[in-house]
Amino acid sequence: MIKELLRNLFIDAVLKADIDFLRKIVLFKGLSERSLAKIALIVFKKTYLAGEKIYEPNQDANVVYIVKSGQVKLNSENINKIVDSGDFFGEISLIENHRHSCETIALKDSELYLIYRAKFEDIAESDNKAGLIIMKNLASIFTNRA
């Protein structure tokens, strides 16, 4: 009882939930609890209304989007994909000087977690292990796709 009370007082439940959510993302597979917490602390949470445009083709890619809830449609000549909760898009942003290749529209009201590249790089700089794991995951995602 008291233990429960102290836990509620000191431990950040929202952060814990975010960590558990991020752990299931393929991009962050194999990261330690601590590294996940650091990432959870730099996400911006943004809600999009159904039909709202998220980004356009040829726009500078600076942000990785993770779908917390809702549904998003990626649309271009060679891509036609629907992204659901627990998946992510715009991962090209993790590599510098690239642009988004497709148009992205929220199909339902969606909550997205936005990770800005430079902030992510700050983490990779201080936590090399996490940076390496994420880059490996990213490489294998790109290889499987090709």
Binding site: L9, A37, K45, K46, L49, E56, D60, N62, V63
Partner: protein
């Protein structure tokens, strides 16, 4: 939402921002405690984030860091305030001696110049200069402690500033997150990069400045005490503070030490020693402290820097001088980023 209405919202946001700037300009008299609180909040927020990354709530991190920070400040004040007050008392007593010495010195110079250029006698220039210095030492200089106390009243030091620090640490992240949620998605990636750049410029600047000021102040006190110069603590404190002002700041401590040293020892040997000491301090600061704390410099030209300093001082007074350079750097990075984006789009 329609594209045109989004653009309208963006324009309105810019107008609101400009209105806020104007408002801040008119309310500049009350900004000092806010500036100081923001300064300190910036300094300690990465440490709070570090504690949070272990899974604790934000208030736990804030409580731990604020308690450590405040007790460190208190310990510092308890150690340094009594000798500093003693020095100020001593200065008040010996100010008239310094003035007498100065006046006699000026008299000698005056008679020499009057022999060389007889016309100058007519205008009483030396008398005017002596009169100015007299009024400075006996009115302005003694008002400085009162001035400092009026800016930082006991209420603002003990209650307002710590409260503001805590509120800023609590609210800062949340309000940025809320703002991000409101911003039009078309501009979100650009705005996030602007926020990040501003954050990193400000953060680096503030942490760097405080660490540097601290370093220069402490080393100045040590060197001046070793040389036996009077008022080492006062000069060191002023030198540390002044060091936050780029280009001009480092000379303030040097000149003060030179004036006090020459009058005290009546030789020019001490001047050489003081110059060497300050050269060593600046060498250490530029080569070991600055690269370590600031990392990437703010990359502003010296003319731009001096212009920003003077303009800041003109508009906002003392705090304008301290914050002129980072504000300038923020404008520069934002401008460059927007220009890059514009050129890529078209």
């Amino acid at each position: 939402m329609l594209e045109s209405s989004k653009n309208r919202i963006f324009i309105i946001a810019v107008l609101i921002f400009l209105a806020i700037c104007l408002f801040l300009y008119f309310a500049r008299g009350i900004l000092a405690p806010f500036f100081i609180a923001a300064f300190i909040a910036y300094l300690i927020s990465p440490l709070v984030l570090k504690i949070q990354s272990y899974g604790y709530k934000r208030w736990v991190g804030i409580a731990i860091i604020v308690i450590i920070f405040l007790s460190a400040v208190a310990a510092f004040l308890i150690v340094f305030i009594p000798p500093l007050i003693a020095e100020i008392e001593k200065f008040k007593v010996s100010a008239s001696d310094y003035y007498a010495y100065f006046a006699s010195y000026l008299d000698i110079i005056k008679s020499k110049i009057e022999v060389a250029v007889p016309a100058i006698k007519h205008y009483n220039i030396a008398d005017i200069v002596v009169g100015k210095i007299h009024s400075f030492i006996f009115s302005k200089a003694q008002q400085i402690p009162t001035y400092i106390m009026s800016v930082f009243s006991i209420f603002s030091i003990l209650v307002l500033i710590p409260m503001l620090i805590i509120f800023m640490l609590f609210g800062g992240n949340k309000s940025i997150n809320k703002a991000v949620n409101f911003l039009p998605s078309k501009y979100i990636e650009t705005i996030l990069s602007v926020i990040y750049e501003i954050n990193s410029v400000l953060g680096k600047f503030i942490r760097g400045q405080l660490i540097e000021a601290f370093f220069v102040g402490i080393i100045s006190v040590i060197f001046l005490s070793v040389l036996g110069v009077n008022f080492a603590l006062i000069i060191g404190a002023i030198a540390g503070f002044a060091n936050m002002v780029p280009c001009l700041g480092p000379f303030v401590g040097l000149f003060l030490a030179l004036i006090v040293g020459i009058i005290q020892f009546q030789t020019f040997m001490i001047a050489i020693k003081i110059v060497v000491a300050y050269a060593i301090i600046q060498f250490l600061d530029n080569n070991f402290v600055q690269p370590f704390v600031i990392g990437r410099s703010l990359n502003l030209g010296s003319i731009a820097t001096i212009f920003a300093l003077l303009a800041g001082g003109q508009i906002f007074g003392f705090f304008g001088i301290i914050f002129a350079v980072p504000v300038m750097a923020i404008f520069k990075t934002t401008f460059i980023m927007l220009v890059h984006k514009y050129r890529r789009l078209y």
